[in-house]
């Protein structure tokens, strides 16, 4: 396939100006679009979180009415998950997978364009829903009925439509990525020679294809319950509100791994570079990723331990959930073993990666605590859970994305970023993150429920600390924006191989990577 594209290409022009982006079929340009899109969504949803933390700075109601508070938590969750984290990983997939496997582009460039541009109307629907009568969606990102059926606001329907569109975008993107990886690798690159990031994305793409249609089904049932008189989730008509939870989490738990497996891939790429030593246990990393993906389909009801399942169900889901910690542990051990007896340096991408290994493991341990059903009875729907999923999603997914942005910025822009500022960004982010979220373990254990705009006085001190941390965390990300823009505008010229210990095909092309690369495939030994 790469040879056919190579024959007809000869520096033909491509659209310039705005049309370069609107009509782009180039994996690098579309990757850039995805990354910027996700960054703006990250800042927007982060600003919503600051609204939450401002209200929770002190007990009592100060800034946000309770219903608006629920809107803030709901939109913060939906936009961070579907607008920030997921598109950022797709951005990396676009930019890096063709470069890593030595092909000229994705298999279906026009579908790739469509995948991105579907995100924009979806984002407009989600954000626009703030301004419709009745206000934005307020029932939590999990949209449990009957609460989400009860809310008469059009914003719920707009959010359902937005999620449908995002689902189509994800499925189309996943088909594109799977086809590319399975068919377009450079000669000699067997599956077990692929960079681990490509492996994690291949598995993630299968997870997306399997789980997004399930979400679509659940959303459609919710929509017909809202408007067309069906009673899937209404006991009065023979339905069951808990059915939603089963179907939603059948999507929702694989979704959690969709947001963390590519992060594992990024970390597994960065650590060997700066340890100057090959990744330890490559094969076991691949098997562990596949094991996590398979297990992710049989653990969903651990989100529902308080719904009152039969005891057999409770035991099954507790055991299966505990099992996930084994392949996850293998990954952490492999990363530490990769560093062991290396020759390490600590540039910003490495700092972020080490922090991810360390902090993600805290999130993994709190996840194991939540898996133990009797303990989960106490911490379910408390701030403990809020701490847990921010340790895996912020210090797992988001911080690995930041590290990877620093890692490949030289390849993307042709310039080295400002290392001093990068380190400032790292330390500010890491410290502020822990100040924000570590105290939530304590407030959660002590009994503070999540999704409340106000709280008992015993939680006041830790909430104030969390809020101070959150504002520092938010402001630190503006530094990130500045560093990226500064790097695009200029700096020390980056070499083709920007890092001493870097391995992989992406470092064999010049920096910045030319508009077209690998028109004739390289040969991998």
């Amino acid at each position: 396939m790469s040879t056919t594209t190579a024959t007809h290409h000869d520096d033909h022009g491509h659209p310039t100006g705005i049309m370069r982006w609107v009509a782009s079929t180039n994996h690098k340009d579309i990757g850039t679009l995805y990354l910027w899109f996700s960054f703006f969504m990250f800042l927007f949803a982060g600003a919503l979180a600051l609204g939450i933390r401002a209200e929770l700075f002190q007990p009592g109601l100060q800034f946000v009415e309770p219903e608006n508070f629920n809107r803030l938590t709901t939109l913060h969750g939906l936009i961070m998950i579907f607008g920030a984290i997921m598109p950022a990983f797709v951005g990396f997939a676009n930019w890096m997978i063709p470069l890593m496997i030595g092909t000229s582009d994705l298999a279906f460039p026009r579908l790739n364009n469509m995948s991105f541009w579907l995100m924009v109307p979806a984002a407009i629907l989600l954000i626009g829903s703030i301004f419709v009568p009745g206000g934005a969606i307020a029932g939590g990102w999990t949209m449990y009925p009957p609460l989400s059926v009860q809310n008469p606001s059009m914003s719920v329907d707009m959010s359902i439509l937005a999620l449908h569109i995002l689902g189509v975008s994800s499925i189309v993107g996943s088909i594109n990525i799977i086809t590319t990886i399975l068919n377009m690798r450079a000669p000699g690159m067997t599956l077990m020679k692929m960079p681990l990031f490509v492996w994690t994305w291949l598995i993630t793409a299968f997870l997306l294809i399997a789980s997004m249609p399930v979400l679509a089904g659940a959303l459609t049932m919710l929509l017909t319950d809202r408007h067309f008189g069906t009673t899937f989730f209404d006991a009065a008509g023979g339905g069951d509100p808990v059915l939603w939870q089963h179907v939603f989490w059948f999507f929702g738990h694989p979704e959690v791994y969709i947001m963390i497996l590519p992060a594992f891939g990024l970390i597994s790429t960065i650590i060997p570079t700066f340890a100057r030593k090959p990744l330890f246990g490559y094969a076991s990393m691949v098997y562990a990723t596949a094991a996590i993906a398979l297990l992710s389909f049989v653990v969903w009801a651990h989100h529902m331990f308080t719904t009152g399942m039969p005891v057999a169900g409770q035991l099954f889901f507790m055991y299966s959930t505990m099992l996930i910690s084994i392949p996850t542990g293998v990954k952490v051990f492999n990363w530490v073993a990769t560093m062991w007896r290396g020759s390490m340096t600590f540039e910003t991408p490495m700092l972020f990666s080490i922090a991810v290994v360390f902090l993600f493991t805290i999130g993994g341990f709190s996840g194991l605590v939540c898996a133990i059903l009797p303990v989960d009875i106490q911490v379910q729907d408390t701030y403990y859970v809020v701490a847990h999923f921010h340790y895996v999603l912020f210090s797992g997914a988001a911080m690995s994305i930041m590290g990877a942005v620093y890692y490949w910025l030289p390849k993307w822009t042709g310039f080295m970023y400002d290392e001093t500022l990068g380190k400032w960004h790292f330390w500010l982010t890491t410290i502020a993150f822990n100040v924000t979220f570590f105290p939530m373990h304590f407030t959660g254990l002590a009994g503070m429920p999540r999704r409340v705009p106000d709280y008992a006085l015993q939680f006041a001190e830790f909430n104030m600390i969390s809020s101070i941390g959150a504002f520092a965390l938010g402001i630190s990300q503006l530094l990130f924006l500045y560093i990226v823009i500064k790097c695009i505008k200029g700096g020390t010229k980056a070499e083709a191989k920007s890092w001493e210990g870097a391995e992989g095909l992406e470092w064999t092309v010049p920096s910045p990577a030319p508009f077209h690369t690998f028109e004739t495939p390289p040969t991998v030994k």
């Binding site: 629920n70 341990f365 106490q378």
Partner: protein, 369 residues
């Protein structure tokens, strides 16, 4: 600029500890008062120590490596990238640890699910945003709502010790008895949770779920709704008073007496002013959370009372919607007595900007049931 940010942040922190040095920094689960809650507490402590031990070993090695195996101290990279024995060992050891964790957890789960041989059964119904308690063997029932004054929430008054964790009518149970809770909900999903009991159970509309506890120590225990249930989710606490057997029996007798007195009120003839005055209290406790203290409501979800077609239309329709509900408006017939319903109808028709001049006697409400 960054340095200044850090400095001011640090200063904010120091001042925080200075002003609140006497405050409590609760770090752990609340002290348990049931057997199940103690088991949960112990399980959690075991998890903490095991996780901490693994954490120290793994990250001790990582930080040792970070300090010793760095390029700046001249360390040369080794090139190993596999070790089958090591990989097998660090897969098997976690399996053994997990089995050791699962065993006590399984025993606790089996005990939690055993709702048989209960001494007292109480039906608990969650609704937006209150809890209804129905003592099935005693013919005692009442509603429990937040009693924290709005002025405290809006920061116009100093907040009390039990801010947001206090109710008008707490649930009362005897110490040392097995209490079975039959849990359901009237509108959306709620969750009934008392941390000291180790009980958290979702209340699901249309279904009855069971859970149980046996409190070993008299006292007042406070929890909150744990499942997002709309705008006042943060304002529906749960308070359980555990009393000695004799005190509990006295409480039951007092409840029955009060109920009998309220029933007697239904047969008397009331004046409009009496009903409107009584209705104000009923309205503010039960209705204002949706329809607003001034009757403005929160359209479109919660219609205004002022000028409403129901509150200014035929009184039969007004009685009917209160008794039986409509869409998200709950049915009140099992919640309020005839006098309360007659009173709140009189209040809604002759206050809040309405003045129809008519009202219904409690006997008329009784007849419409």
């Amino acid at each position: 600029m960054n340095k200044r940010t850090i400095l001011s942040l640090g200063a904010a922190f120091l001042s925080l500890f200075a002003v609140s040095s006497h405050a409590e920094y609760a770090l752990n689960l609340k002290a348990p008062v049931t057997e199940i809650a103690s088991q949960i507490y112990d399980l959690h402590m075991m998890m903490i120590w095991v996780c901490l031990a693994i954490f120290v070993v793994v990250f001790g090695l990582m930080f040792y490596s970070i300090i010793k195996h760095r390029k700046s101290v001249g360390h040369k990279a080794a090139h190993f990238h596999e070790n089958h024995w090591l990989e097998v060992i660090w897969t098997i050891i976690p399996v053994i640890i997990l089995v050791a964790m699962a065993y006590p957890a399984t025993k606790t789960i089996l005990a939690m699910k055993d709702t048989s041989a209960a001494d007292i059964s109480i039906k608990v119904t969650g609704s937006q945003w209150k809890w209804a308690y129905d003592y099935l063997d005693q013919d005692v029932k009442f509603i429990s709502t937040l009693s924290t004054p709005e002025a405290q929430i809006k920061n116009q008054e100093e907040k009390g010790e039990n801010y947001l964790l206090e109710v008008d009518n707490p649930m009362v149970v005897p110490v040392g008895k097995k209490i079975k809770i039959l849990l359901t909900a009237a509108d959306v999903i709620h969750a009934w949770w008392i941390p000291e009991f180790g009980v958290k159970q979702d209340a699901i509309p249309g279904f009855v779920r069971e859970t149980w506890f046996r409190a070993d120590k008299p006292g007042t225990y406070r929890g909150q709704c744990a499942e997002l249930c709309g705008k006042a989710h943060g304002y529906m606490p749960i308070v359980v008073e555990v009393k000695e057997e004799a005190d509990y029996n006295a409480w039951v007798a007092a409840q029955k007496e009060a109920a009998a007195a309220a029933d007697a009120g239904a047969d008397k003839d009331w004046t409009m002013d009496e009903l409107v005055t009584a209705g104000k209290a009923v309205y503010e406790k039960n209705c204002s959370v949706c329809h607003g203290a001034t009757g403005a409501g929160i359209p479109p979800a919660f219609p205004a009372m002022t000028g409403s077609a129901v509150a200014t239309g035929p009184i039969e329709g007004h009685i009917d919607i209160l008794l039986n509900g409509k869409n998200i408006m709950p049915a009140w017939k099992d919640v309020l007595n005839d006098t309360d319903i007659a009173a709140v109808i009189a209040y809604e028709r002759n206050a809040l900007g309405n003045s129809t001049g008519d009202f219904a006697q409690p006997s008329a409400v009784k007849a419409a049931r």
